[in-house]
């Protein structure tokens, strides 16, 4: 009896998804759907928050006031993105602090791109252009994700992302058209961030076992390889336009397919970074942990103050 009931619920759930009816927090959903979303949305939130660190590194050293104001606004947006997403994950019944503790203990992952160091100002250009560019590719289809609160958060995020990519490209094109040293800095940043940016789309489809279920649930709309290909196709001409060279000797345009063919991705490097052995993994987690631990007395004091005020009001 109970089993047929569950089956009926699952059938009705899938029928809703197939009709593009959004799932809302209090609706019935399969446990696996809930778990998948909690994992994906919280890891997305962590990526936004950890992603503030490599760029935060350059705020005090921005070359002029305009660049500084722009970078500050961009990093503040990323904090906002993290908060929209933590708010979405709470609608699934997840505990916000517990998901953050999972990040700090290493149980939860975040985008591995943020484990690379930002060595020069040009990296602010490469990150905005390539990393935010790749993030936009990933996030635009998520605006139509079957889970309402996630989709709505993504609509806000995508609106804000477009300036992120433009400010990065502007930095890159300014440097690329500057002195030979400036151009070399831009090229060096592109060399270091190109391959990690391609890895942001995740493993090849053949090595991505959960993808099909996520597609059926309309959490995911395009495969990793499809999104990566689109990213390469739109980004290569942009690099050419500003006179920079994509660091891939195998890159060539295929007239027949209308797509660029690109060289093999170093998946060993990808998995090493995911496992925690990238150049900055330890620094990133330490910075997040410090922020939480050192801020604890402030959070406690604010709460105590409010409790005292309520008690006074009651008496």
């Amino acid at each position: 009896m109970k089993e047929t009931n569950l089956e009926a619920l699952e059938t009705a759930f899938q029928a809703k998804i197939d009709k593009d009816i959004r799932i809302e927090p209090k609706d019935w959903m399969p446990e696996e759907y809930r778990k998948t979303l909690i994992r994906q949305i919280s890891q997305h939130a962590h990526s936004e928050i950890v992603g503030m660190l490599p760029e935060g590194n350059w705020i005090t050293r921005a070359p002029n006031l305009r660049r500084k104001a722009v970078l500050l606004a961009k990093v503040q947006d990323e904090a906002g993105h993290g908060l929209y997403l933590y708010s979405a994950v709470e609608t699934l019944g997840a505990d916000r602090e517990a998901t953050i503790d999972d990040l700090h203990s290493g149980k939860a992952k975040y985008s591995s791109i943020f484990n690379y160091p930002t060595l020069s100002w040009a990296d602010m250009g490469a990150i905005g252009w390539l990393v935010d560019g790749a993030a936009i590719m990933n996030q635009v289809p998520l605006c139509r994700c079957s889970y309402g609160p996630y989709a709505r958060a993504m609509v806000r995020v995508c609106k804000e992302e477009s300036f992120h990519q433009r400010q990065g490209f502007e930095i890159m094109s300014t440097l690329a058209n500057g002195t030979p040293i400036q151009k070399a800095l831009a090229q060096d940043a592109l060399n270091r961030f190109w391959w990690p940016a391609l890895m942001m789309f995740g493993p090849n489809d053949s090595d991505s076992p959960h993808s099909q279920q996520s597609m059926d649930w309309k959490i995911k709309r395009f495969s990793n390889d499809e999104l990566r290909q689109t990213f390469v196709d739109v980004t290569v001409p942009q690099a050419e336009m500003i006179g920079l060279t994509i660091p891939d000797p195998d890159l060539k345009f295929n007239e027949e397919t209308g797509h660029y063919e690109f060289g093999a991705i170093n998946w060993d490097e990808f998995w090493e970074v995911v496992k925690g052995n990238g150049p900055c993994n330890a620094d990133r987690i330490a910075a997040r942990r410090n922020a939480k631990e050192n801020g604890q007395w402030v959070r406690e004091a604010a709460m105590a103050h409010e409790e005292k005020r309520k008690a006074k009001q009651a008496s």
Binding site: A73, Y84, S87, R96, E160, R299, M303, E306
Partner: protein
Amino acid sequence: MSTKEWPLWEVFIRSKQGLNHKHVGSLRAPDAQLAIENARDVYTRRNEGISIWVIPSSEIVASDPDDSDSLFEPAASKVYRHPTFYDVPDGISHM
């Protein structure tokens, strides 16, 4: 964790004069004043609002999706509540 978590607040924003406040999301804050200040930073960085409401999430009472048939189905069959239900002869205007 020894400390109590800050409570959750639902945030509603009026985007411009003449429109309703609309739910935009939630956030955590220790009290109402800070909830409003945080909502300003999180949800109105690009002139999205001119007025903010915050309500403790625990104070919201919501209908149950399982009751939606009994709550909303009765309205579905009452097509005569819509003007399109009625025949109006050709030539009649202002109606």
